[in-house]
Every structure is written in structure tokens, then in C-alpha cells.
């Protein structure tokens, strides 16, 4: 061989080596491309599954739907003979297997055992649950005997509770690439965490809402439609109070607790059908007046009704106010009309000029009396209004309580005498001068004397007594009149309350004792009443003695009623 031959051979070898190198590089590049492609496919799968899940989970926290969503995507990543899942429910396990290829009953039995054993191992309590089984997909081949030779389980644990498990099985050995399996675990873990986070948010918001619901004075009841049945899902403290419920009542008990004043079940039915709120203005529940709103609850963003909410507003106080207003209007009209009618009649007679001088004077006095009565009533109304506005004020000056009583007795003794009633004062000479509102305490005495005279029969007796009790003085006005029934005693010091009965016409605004109570309380004292029907009434009140100064004893304290007549 000559040199040329050597050169040619060397050139060929070099050429082959170069071609071999490039071929090797190309093959390697292609292999890398395949690996990269596979990796890209995995990444794409991961992203697409997570996107799908984020959309799915965004709308629902239903684990079943999330698992179904996951299961439906696995075929894009792996080739398998079957995929199955178990949903862990309260008392049962919902098992579903989807066959990608025809398998035998032995395969079905083992695939089921593989996933159920995993479930039992994680949560032993599920062993007692019944199993509901569904088989879908390819037909079952009774002749096939092959069992799963490759499989793996993916448990879904949310907030430390097993909620589901997925099983992927194949009749092929080593059917699944580790990278694919690890990817699937990763994706499902991320989905589980997403559900867990969303559940935490929902639970937190639910907690906030429940706290709010529990604390508000409005009664709130929520019924949800679960499996086509209306079930109680929320009941706050106020609703329990209004309905007279305790503990954890069930749906039936809550519905029946609304009583017979209306049929709640019918109302709920009409709300569900018409999808409109029903308002019941005034329902009587356990002595309370309640306004009830029954409204449909819609699934967010849809017109689908998923439940009914009932809100209950306690309007008892408003009702009472309304009643007081009505009583007030009635009282004002009645009390002002009577003297005005008298005044009108007297005026007409005076205008007619047919009356003699004596009768004319009578008419003028009648007009004067009526005017005074009206002014008195108006003064009472103004006082009551000041008391309610918190603007009622007293003006104290040092004075003798006994003198004030004597003065008042002097005023009332004429009226009492005209009814054949005697007033007997028994005033303690030991009471010092002290600071109090002379006018206002006089007003209290006016009210008490006026009441006693009004409700005491002819020939009756009124005793007024002052007693020194430590740093206070106690004043008692006792009569042997008609008394006060027990059931009325408690309300006598309220607004517009009158004890008129037994043929006695009240003829007053009913504000006297209410104002008296405020006057006594403004002095730091107390006022109370003891009475027996048919026997008499004693009203007592105390006044703490402010800045007391001893006074000279006089015989006036024990004077006879005649003194006041002179």
C-alpha cells in the first residue's frame, strides 16, 4: 500500500469517526429532546391539572367533585388498567372504580382490597362503615384472571382527617414511571392543601359570622336544603330565647316552636316556590311581639334556592310604646274635653244673659275650676315629659316638712270635709329643718291627699304621719278607702296608671304617682305603697335629711284638724 492508500484509509476512518460522532450527538440530542419533551409534558400536565383544580375548587369545596376532577385528568399522564377512589363519608365509604380495559372479577376484588385496606389503615374507624360500590368503564371479563401487578394509593387528608383515597392499578408490571407517580402525588398534595386553605378561610368567615349572629339581638334561623330535605343549619341565641328553646333543638322542634299562630311549614313552602320574602308583622311568641321575615337563600350568582332564612325582630317594646301613646292620647282627649265642655256650657249660659247674679258667679267659678284642672293636667304632662327627657330638676331650701304638710292639709281639708272625710295629722316634733324642694314635696302631698280623698268613702279617715328614722324622715298618708287590688299595686307608680274602681271615677291623668316617685327619688328617697282591697291604702315615702338644723318644738304639730279649718 502506498501513501495515498494510507491517506485514503485514514481519511475514511476520520470520516466515519466524524459521522459517528455527529450521529452519536444527534441520537443523544434526540434522546435529550425526548426526555425534555416528557418533562415538558409533565409540567404541562401539572399546570393544566392545577388550573383545572383552582377553577373547580374556587366554586366548590365538595371533596367528591375535587376527587372526580383529579381522577379524570390522570389518564393524560399515565396508562393504567383502572383508577378507583373512595370517598369517606359519615357512615359509609363510597367506592368507585373506572376500568380503562377489560379485567376479571379477581382484579376487581384485589383492586378494591388495595384501596380499602389503605383507608382502614389510615382511619381504623372506617372499618365499620358500609361500602357503596360503583363500577364504570370497560366491560368485566369473567374469564380474565390477572390481578393488578402494579398499583399505588394516594390518600387525601384534610385537616388531619382522611376524606378520600385514589388507587391507580395496572395489569402490567412496573407500569408506572417513578417521575410520573411522584408528579401525581405532588399535584394531589397541592390540591389537598388548596382545599384545606379554602376550608380554613370558609371556617374562619363562618366563625366570624356565627359570632356576629350569636351576639345580635335579632333572632336568626337558617334552614338549608340538604339532599332535598330542609335541615336546620343555624340558630342564634336570640332566636332560641324568642322561641323558648334550650340546648340543641332539631329542625322539627324549631319549626313547631313557632306555635299555632301561623303555619311556618306552609310559609316556608311558599317562600321556596315563589322565591320571595314573606313578612309577618306581629306574631305572638312566648308573650313577646315578634316581626318575622322569611326569605329564600340563593346559591351565589344563581337563582337556585338552597335554603330559607328567618329573622325575628322583637317589637314588644315598640308595641308597648304604641299602647302607651294610644293611652296617652285617649287620656289627654278625655281629661281635657271634660273641663272644656264645662267651660263651653258655662260660657254659653253667661252669653245668653239669662242668669241671675248668683248663677253667673257659679258659672265663673266653674270656669275657673275647670281652667285650674286643665292647667294642673298640663303641668303634670310637662313634668312627665321632663322626667322622661332626664330634665326634671328640684330646687332645695332649708324648711320644715311638718309646716309643708300642715299647709297642704289646710288646702285639702275643705274638700275632705265636703265629702265627710276627716284628715288626722300626727307630726313628729323631733324633725329638724332640712333641705328639700318645698314646692315639689308639696306636689307629692297634693297627689297623695287627692288620691286618698278620691278613693275614700264618705265618713272615711285620712291619717298623715311624720316619723324620724335615723337620717331620714318618713311621711305616711293612710286612708281607710277602697284599697288597691294586688295586681295593680306594682304598676301604680308607672305612667298613666290608675287604680280607679268600685264605682269611683278616676278623673285624672294617672301621672300623679309617677311624678311623685320621680320627685322622691330626686331627693334620694323611696316611695312605696301598702294596700288591701276594701280596707285602705297607705303610701309612704322617705326623704334623707340634708343639712339638718334643730327647730323649736311647737304645739302645732299635734293640732286638731279644726286648726286647718280656721
Amino acid at each position: 500500500m502506498n501513501l495515498i492508500s494510507y491517506i485514503l484509509i485514514a481519511t475514511n476512518i476520520l470520516g466515519i469517526a466524524v459521522i459517528g460522532f455527529f450521529l452519536y450527538r444527534e441520537v443523544k440530542r434526540r434522546q435529550e429532546a425526548v426526555v425534555q419533551k416528557k418533562e415538558l409534558a409533565r409540567r404541562f400536565y401539572e399546570l393544566s391539572v392545577l388550573k383545572h383544580l383552582s377553577e373547580d375548587i374556587g366554586y366548590s369545596l365538595h371533596v367528591g367533585r375535587v376527587v372526580e376532577g383529579l381522577v379524570s385528568t390522570v389518564k393524560n399522564l399515565l396508562q393504567y388498567s383502572s383508577i378507583s377512589y373512595v370517598l369517606v363519608q359519615q357512615d359509609k365509604l363510597n367506592y368507585k372504580i373506572q376500568l380503562q380495559e377489560s379485567v376479571g372479577s379477581e382484579y376487581l376484588k384485589e383492586a378494591k382490597a388495595d384501596i380499602l385496606n389503605a383507608v382502614y389503615e389510615i382511619d381504623t374507624h372506617t372499618r365499620s362503615n358500609s361500602v357503596e360500590e360503583h363500577v364504570e368503564g370497560a366491560a368485566v371479563d369473567e374469564k380474565a384472571v390477572q390481578a393488578p401487578t402494579s398499583y399505588f394509593n394516594i390518600p387525601l387528608v384534610i385537616h388531619n382527617v382522611l376524606v378520600a383515597a385514589i388507587n391507580v392499578s395496572s395489569t402490567q408490571q412496573n407500569a408506572f414511571l417513578p417521575q410520573d407517580v411522584d408528579l401525581l402525588y405532588r399535584v394531589i398534595n397541592q390540591a389537598t392543601r388548596a382545599v384545606e386553605r379554602l376550608e380554613s378561610i370558609v371556617e374562619t368567615e363562618k366563625g366570624k359570622l356565627n359570632s356576629l349572629l350569636l351576639s345580635i339581638p335579632t333572632g336568626a334561623v337558617m334552614f338549608s336544603i340538604i339532599d332535598n330535605v330542609l335541615q336546620l343549619t343555624s340558630l342564634n341565641t336570640s332566636a332560641k330565647e324568642y322561641l323558648g328553646l334550650t340546648g340543641d333543638p332539631d329542625t322539627f322542634k324549631v319549626i313547631t316552636s313557632f306555635g299555632k299562630s301561623f303555619n311556618l311549614a306552609d310559609k316556608i313552602r311558599s317562600v321556596l316556590e315563589d322565591k320571595k320574602t314573606v313578612i309577618l308583622d306581629d306574631i305572638k311568641l312566648n308573650e313577646l311581639n315578634i316581626k318575622v321575615f322569611i326569605s329564600p337563600v340563593f346559591l351565589y350568582g344563581t337563582g337556585k334556592v338552597i335554603g330559607v332564612s328567618i329573622t325575628m325582630e322583637n317589637i314588644t317594646f315598640e308595641k308597648q310604646i304604641q299602647e302607651v301613646r294610644e293611652t296617652f292620647t285617649h287620656m289627654v282627649v278625655h281629661e281635657l274635653r271634660a273641663p272644656l265642655t264645662s267651660m263651653k256650657g258655662a260660657s254659653e249660659l253667661l252669653i245668653s244673659a239669662k242668669l241671675g247674679k248668683q248663677d253667673q258667679e257659679k258659672m265663673l267659678f266653674l270656669i275657673k275650676d275647670s281652667t285650674e284642672r286643665m292647667l294642673g293636667d298640663i303641668a303634670d304632662l310637662l313634668d312627665a315629659s321632663k322626667i322622661e327627657a332626664g330634665k326634671f330638676a328640684i330646687s332645695k331650701s332649708r324648711s320644715s316638712i311638718n309646716s309643708v304638710i300642715e299647709q297642704r292639709v289646710g288646702v285639702f281639708i275643705h274638700v275632705a270635709e265636703s265629702k265627710g272625710i276627716t284628715i288626722e295629722p300626727t307630726l313628729s316634733p323631733d324633725i329638724p329643718l332640712f333641705e328639700f324642694d318645698v314646692e315639689r314635696i308639696g306636689q307629692v302631698l297634693n297627689n297623695l291627699f287627692s288620691n286618698s280623698i278620691k278613693y275614700t268613702h264618705q265618713g272615711g279617715k285620712i291619717r298623715v304621719t311624720t316619723i324620724l328614722e335615723g337620717n331620714s324622715v318618713k311621711i305616711e298618708v293612710a286612708d281607710n278607702g277602697i284599697g288597691v287590688p294586688k295586681e295593680k299595686q306594682a304598676i301604680l307608680f308607672g305612667r298613666y296608671s290608675q287604680a280607679g274602681q268600685g264605682g269611683f271615677k278616676s278623673g285624672s291623668t294617672g301621672l300623679g304617682l309617677y311624678i311623685s316617685k320621680s320627685i322622691v327619688q330626686s331627693h334620694g328617697g323611696k316611695i312605696w305603697l301598702t294596700a288591701e282591697e276594701g280596707t285602705g291604702t297607705t303610701v309612704s315615702f322617705t326623704i334623707p335629711m340634708e343639712n339638718p338644723v334643730a327647730q323649736q318644738k311647737t304645739e302645732s304639730s299635734f293640732m286638731s284638724p279644726q286648726k286647718y279649718l280656721n
Binding site: 389503615e121 394516594i154 408506572f176
Partner: protein
């Protein structure tokens, strides 16, 4: 509470066999055998470990938690209740699982053969 290597070997076997039932044989054996020099038969029984069994056990827990942290925590926690060190490791897994981060990013994995 396991104290000796034998105890840890037994605990390793218990954990692997339990996880085989839960996750499946292929996955668990692959994970267990990938950590270090260990001899495991097909039933999941560990017959030999080269190095300290306790270190291997920690690595195994972390490795399994990579694929299913919540179920690993739920099922292994009761098995290591007597070992504060392993309990702390499990608790750490729980936190990591909720952060969506790979547990190995925080938990040092020591190869049993490194000593």
C-alpha cells in the same frame, strides 16, 4: 421508645410495612431503597442497614413525606409517640406540608453511609 439499632430496625420495618398497605408496595420500596444501603425484602421487612438505623429512619420519614405528608404524619405520629426527636420531625413535616414546600428543603437528610 426505641433505643438500640435493633429497635430502630423493627420500627423501620413496621413503618415500611404500614406504608406499603397505605401507599402501595412499589412506591414505598422505591423510596425506602433509594435512601441508602439497606436490605429490605419484598414484604417490607428490613434485614440490614449500613450505618445508623435512627438516621436512616429520619431520612425515610422525610422521603415518604415528600409524596404524602399529611397521611405520613397521621399514620407515623402514633408509632413514634415515645420519641421526642422523631415527634419533632413529624411536627415539622406538618408545617412544611401546609406551606407547599418540599420537606427536604428544611429537614437535613443524612445518608446512613455518611458516618
Amino acid at each position: 421508645m426505641p433505643t438500640s439499632d435493633i429497635d430502630f430496625l423493627n420500627l423501620l420495618t413496621d413503618i415500611i410495612q404500614k406504608q406499603i398497605v397505605i401507599l402501595g408496595r412499589d412506591v414505598v420500596l422505591r423510596k425506602a431503597r433509594s435512601i441508602g444501603k439497606i436490605t429490605i425484602d419484598d414484604t417490607g421487612a428490613v434485614t440490614a442497614v449500613e450505618g445508623e438505623a435512627k438516621v436512616y429512619l429520619k431520612s425515610l420519614i422525610v422521603s415518604l413525606a415528600e409524596i404524602s405528608p399529611e397521611s405520613i404524619r397521621k399514620t407515623i405520629e402514633p408509632m413514634v409517640s415515645g420519641n421526642p426527636e422523631l415527634q419533632a420531625l413529624i411536627s415539622h413535616l406538618q408545617v412544611e406540608g401546609k406551606e407547599d414546600a418540599a420537606p427536604t428543603a428544611q429537614v437535613p437528610v443524612v445518608s446512613p453511609t455518611s458516618k
